[in-house]
């Protein structure tokens, strides 16, 4: 508890980090309670198409090319975007942490093999790879999450590997070897908790980039056809960009706020968790 209080004291020193956290909590609130406040199916053609925002009190953000309510879309889309962002990050963490930990702890040929594989993934442009993967496996929530995690895990693996390489040389790890502790326990109970801070920081930024990637895929028409995400909405608005720019701009603002919030939080976490800055 004391540790958390110390952490919070350092975190809140940075105004931008607090703003980011407030924004992020707001986005979460919208995702959780929004669909109750604004019920209805975002795919419903609720009103006349091309309704500009502010012209009809019932549809404050207007409607799209087929008369679907944009506010409903943004609120329901927040769930999809956040879910995909977090699920993809979690999956990437699972793979990346395992690969990085094994490579960094065992070194030698295990490290060589795992790192060559990692490099293969890193040499391919990530977004293109995601496009190809989704296109091959049919767009759905699951394939999108897997495609995004497949292109993002290498950076986690590299980070964790670097942390493991330095931590495994620390005397407290050697001391565990000397008392006869098993390798699994050393890796997961001794070393891993010590590299959590950089992993947490990186994860927050990865959620943001996963949301962007999902939007990009949906924009290209590679989103889950059954789900209304922010990217899908921008994709829909693309055809009317010149006449009704608000259709793309409004979900775009939602993405901007979420990604900005995640980045601000990530930066704040970095300052609060980075031991080098702790003493100031």
């Amino acid at each position: 508890m004391q540790a958390f209080r110390d952490f919070w004291r350092r975190y809140r020193r940075k105004t931008s980090a607090v703003i980011g956290l407030v924004l992020l909590l707001f986005v979460f609130l919208v995702a959780f309670v929004g669909p109750w406040i604004v019920p209805g199916d975002p795919w419903d053609m609720a009103t006349m198409p091309f309704l500009w925002p502010g012209t009809n009190a019932e549809f404050p953000l207007g409607s799209d090319t087929l008369g679907r309510d944009i506010l409903t879309g943004i609120i329901h889309g927040s769930r999809v975007s956040l879910l995909i962002g977090f699920a993809a990050t979690l999956a990437a963490l699972g793979l990346g942490v395992t690969v990085g930990a094994l490579a960094g702890y065992f070194r030698g040929w295990i490290d060589d093999v795992l790192m060559r594989i990692t490099e293969i993934f890193q040499t391919v442009p990530t977004f293109l790879l995601a496009v190809v993967l989704v296109a091959i496996f049919k767009p759905s929530m699951t394939t999108i999450v897997l495609a995004i995690s497949a292109v993002t895990w290498p950076s986690i693996a590299r980070l964790v590997r670097a942390e493991f390489l330095s931590l495994r040389e620390r005397e407290f790890v050697q001391s565990c070897v000397v008392i006869g502790m098993g390798e699994t326990r050393i890796i997961f109970r001794q070393i891993l908790p010590n590299c959590l801070p950089p992993i947490i920081v990186m994860s927050s930024v990865m959620v943001a980039s996963a949301i962007l990637t999902e939007s990009g895929l949906s924009f290209l028409g590679l989103g889950d056809p059954n789900l209304m995400s922010w990217g899908t909405m921008i994709g829909i608005g693309r055809d009317a960009m010149r006449t009704a720019w608000y259709m793309s701009a409004l979900p775009g603002v939602a993405i901007l706020i979420t990604v900005l919030a995640l980045n601000l939080v990530g930066e704040g976490l970095n300052d609060a968790l980075n031991p080098r800055l702790k003493n100031h």
């Binding site: 407290f172 000397v178 006869g180 010590n194």
Partner: protein, 327 residues
């Protein structure tokens, strides 16, 4: 009792680096008896720490043997070594790096017991409290994290952890060199008390000759991967024979204002060469004031010149009448 508790023979540890082979430990033989402290002294880069790590299996020996009570343990896998862990423990140099910052102190001391499945949770808890009290920590400190402790207290935690399995041998790798003088004395005294109580054997690795003189029964002096002199404490200080040992002894600053000021003393020049590329023959010859041609050509063997007194120098000789000549 038959033979020494720990005996090391022809131990070699080489590391391959991009710049070549580092000959960290280059053929070392030592033995350690029950209840004895063997001091291992030398300057940085001489390989003394690597030797300690090779003994406990943290570093894989390239060749040679390490026998614990007659059983070979060098080159065993970690699983096979596990059975012997309880008998052979280690205390580390850096009291800040040697404790996991994320664990509570009680947990840190308990780990060796839980790893080896000693007792149930309640029994282990009681054992931890007892260990903590023995090394001078109060039971209520056990719920804190390492960063809340001073260097000396952390070293006590490390000692309690090493003692948990009731070992017979403890490799002490510079355990007091990171501590302030007054705290260093506390830890040195604690180590001495524990040895008397439990009949522990220490391999005490240190660069500080005065601490070694204080604690050790026998002393081995290491230079560039090799033992150059080994003797009971008394004979080493009464008559150091190897030129390097003499250099080392003369260089230690002693808190005695009556000893001659440094400026009036002759000084050995140069520094310890790289273990990547040690000089041929006798490794010390590049700094030795007595070096001759033979020193470059032939490596001097470690030979016994007096009772238990071993020296590796071409110019130290035992005469037929038992007297020893030294350069």
């Amino acid at each position: 009792m038959s033979g020494p508790l720990l005996s090391i023979a022809g131990l070699i540890v080489h590391f391959n680096t991009s710049q070549g082979t580092v000959r960290a430990v280059d053929g070392v033989s030592l033995s350690l008896n029950k209840g004895e402290t063997l001091g291992l002294v030398g300057e940085s880069g001489c390989g003394k720490s690597t030797l300690g790590k090779a003994i406990v299996g943290l570093v894989k020996p390239t060749a040679g043997s390490v026998q614990l009570d007659g059983m070979e343990i060098a080159g065993l896998s970690r699983g096979e070594l596990r059975r012997h862990r309880a008998r052979l423990q280690m205390i580390f140099q850096d009291p800040y790096a040697s404790l996991n910052p994320r664990l509570r102190v009680g947990k840190i001391i308990e780990e060796p017991l839980s790893v080896h499945g000693v007792g149930n949770a309640r029994e282990r808890r009681a054992a931890v409290v007892q260990l903590a009290e023995r090394v001078g920590l109060r039971p209520e400190m056990l719920t804190r994290h390492p960063h809340e402790f001073s260097g000396g207290q952390r070293q006590r935690i490390g000692i309690a952890r090493a003692l948990a399995l009731n070992p017979e041998i403890i490799i002490c790798d510079e355990p007091v060199s990171a501590l302030d003088v007054s705290v260093q004395a506390q830890v040195v005294n604690l180590l001495g008390d524990l040895q008397r109580e439990r009949g522990l054997s220490y391999l005490f690795i240190s660069h500080d000759l005065s601490v070694v003189q204080h604690l050790a029964h026998r002393v081995a002096v290491m230079y560039l991967g090799k033992i150059v002199e080994q003797a009971p404490r008394k004979s080493l200080w009464a008559r150091p024979l190897h030129p390097y040992t003499r250099t080392l002894l003369a260089a230690v600053p002693v808190p005695d204002p009556d000893q001659p000021k440094l400026i009036d003393q002759p000084m050995v020049e140069g520094e310890i060469p790289s273990p990547l590329n040690p000089p041929s023959g006798c490794h010390f010859r590049t700094r030795c004031p007595f070096a001759q041609a033979i020193c470059a050509e032939q490596e001097p063997a470690l030979k016994e010149v007096a009772d238990g007194h071993f020296v590796a120098c071409h110019f130290v000789e035992r005469k037929p009448d038992g007297t020893v000549t030294a350069p």
